[in-house]
């Protein structure tokens, strides 16, 4: 069931990359600035497709959001030392792959609190280390890997630009956001974020 979120009782259906759907409360979802930008005021007609992320990752992310529903609004980074036992367990039970997937999903969904805690956790890996010790903790890509990554990013950027242009044309034709179908709305927002990201990268 999906409808405009006005109370924490409202549930939204989330669709993962596997095509599976599951419920998330409106209160939990509202911690995502991406969701707020897309659906908060207009609601969603059908499952919300976060299809770049698998079910396990999305469930993990929204598990965090559900848990922190009653915490006060995020007001800046908190030190790991201040994290609750639940928070620490949440992070500790993830393997590295899951941790990276959660950061990526949290970054896309723009969940400030979770992204910040994850990033601080990574920064702590490097705390007080010299160069020799840092090399043991992190891997840096080789020149070839970087080149390959750059090519992929260029392709993605070109594709995003093309889609963005198309979406802009569509948006001109559409009078109100409410009239856009969910899939297209997700794509439009994603394009906006991509453009924001690209302009940020170019700074």
């Amino acid at each position: 069931m999906t409808s405009p979120a006005s109370s924490s009782e409202v549930k939204y259906l989330i669709e993962s990359s596997e095509g599976n759907t599951f419920d998330v409360s409106g209160a939990a979802l509202r911690q995502s600035n991406t969701f707020n930008a897309m659906f908060l005021n207009i609601g969603a007609d059908g499952p919300i497709p976060f299809t770049d992320y698998n079910e396990a990752t999305l469930k993990k992310v929204f598990e965090y959001c559900e848990h922190s529903v009653n915490e006060e609004n995020y007001s800046g980074p908190k030190h790991q030392d201040d994290l609750s036992k639940w928070d620490l367990n949440f992070f500790n039970e993830m393997d590295q792959k899951m941790f990276i997937d959660v950061i990526n999903a949290s970054n896309f969904l723009d969940i400030e609190r979770l992204t910040s805690y994850c990033c601080e956790r990574i920064a702590r890996m490097l705390r007080g280390k010299n160069t020799q010790e840092m090399i043991k903790v992190i891997t840096l890509p080789t020149a070839e890997e970087l080149e390959a990554k750059q090519k992929v990013e260029e392709k993605k950027a070109a594709a995003a630009k093309k889609v963005a242009e198309k979406a802009a044309e569509t948006a001109e034709k559409t009078e109100t956001l409410e009239e856009l179908p969910v899939q297209q709305l997700v794509q439009t927002t994603r394009n906006k974020l991509t453009r924001k990201y690209l302009s940020f990268s170019n700074e």
Binding site: P77, I103, F108, E120, A123, M125, I138, F200, S201
Partner: protein, 318 residues
């Protein structure tokens, strides 16, 4: 997470957040990993160091990076300072590359202060050659003379102030040449014990070019200094020097110091400004003696005679 973390697989916004959580010291260490890591550090976290100092000790050296932080409070702004010590140890870079990398990532293009405290490694002179602007150079006791001599040859032209506890020159001519360096400030400590290696005359001070020359525990007597003043009165060739200060070991006898100078005493507050804007912009004194050369050039002599400070100052007015 025991396997190395693939940091650069993170999205850029997350990477920025990671770097914002890192201490400046860690960002600098990360930048030392590789050229690419340095480039990345600069994109993800902009550091702005207020100054960088280099300390060279026996077989080790480190950089001290000073940061100023501003904290916006409800009714005012609080500034506070922090320092980060960056060791040149197992970084896989030469000393000059290491200095250059730290300067680059901290956006601080010159070194404020260089301290030479001991016998350095062989590549230190190469590293010093790469420095192009230093505010202050300190040469401490215990540095090998050969290194000090090389360091002075390399750094004097790019340094504003030199404080030294060792005179590495074997003869008077080398010392005279060094005194002609266009420094803002030169201070030599333990002169009396360092200079006897060669003949020294107060006339050498006449040709000195630092704006301020300070000889602590100078090798000369009050009579020698009087002779220096007499020679200055006779001299018509001016060096850059505007202020000469010397600490002496004996009591300053006023009659001996001013003999034959036709000095005129005064009792008034005066401020002496250097012709160039430097770290020590002015000196003040409230009494002393004026002397005047035949060409109209004026100078003021002041002295302090209260143990343990027995100091004579000579100010040349422009």
């Amino acid at each position: 997470m025991t396997t190395p973390f693939p940091l650069l697989r993170l999205p850029r916004l997350a990477l920025i957040s990671v770097f914002m959580h890192m201490e400046p010291n860690e960002v600098i260490m990360f930048a030392l990993l590789s050229k690419r890591a340095n480039k990345l550090s600069k994109c993800l976290r902009k550091l702005s160091a207020s100054s960088i100092d280099l300390v060279v000790e026996n077989d080790s050296h480190h950089l001290t990076v000073l940061f100023m932080h501003r904290e916006e409070l409800p009714f005012n702004t609080n500034n506070f300072w922090s320092t980060e010590t960056i060791l040149h140890k197992n970084v896989g870079l030469s000393v000059s590359e290491w200095i250059e990398r730290v300067q680059d990532v901290t956006n601080c293009k010159s070194l404020k202060r260089v301290d030479l405290r001991g016998s350095p490694r062989l590549d230190m002179c190469d590293a010093l050659s790469s420095l192009n602007n230093i505010s202050e150079l300190y040469i401490h006791p215990g540095c090998p003379e050969s290194f000090v001599e090389k360091a002075l040859r390399i750094l004097s032209p790019v340094t504003n102030e030199i404080n030294m506890w060792s005179i590495p020159f074997e003869n008077r001519e080398e010392f005279r040449t060094f005194l002609k360096t266009n420094l803002d400030y030169l201070s030599i400590y333990y002169c009396a014990s360092e200079i006897p290696k060669f003949e020294f005359s107060m006339d050498d001070v006449l040709i000195a070019n630092p704006l301020k020359l300070q000889l602590i525990e100078g090798p000369s007597s009050v009579e020698d200094i009087n002779q220096f003043f007499l020679n200055w009165l006779q001299n018509t060739i001016d060096s850059r020097m505007e202020h000469f200060s010397m600490n002496v070991r004996e009591n300053v006898n006023e009659d001996n110091l001013l003999n034959g100078l036709n000095a005129v005493s005064f009792l008034e507050e005066r401020t002496f400004h250097y012709s160039k804007e430097i770290d020590f912009p002015f000196e003040t004194f409230s009494s002393g003696y004026d002397i005047e050369r035949v060409d109209g050039k004026k100078a003021t002599i002041t002295f302090v005679n209260s143990y343990p400070i027995r100091r004579i100052d000579f100010y040349i007015w422009s």
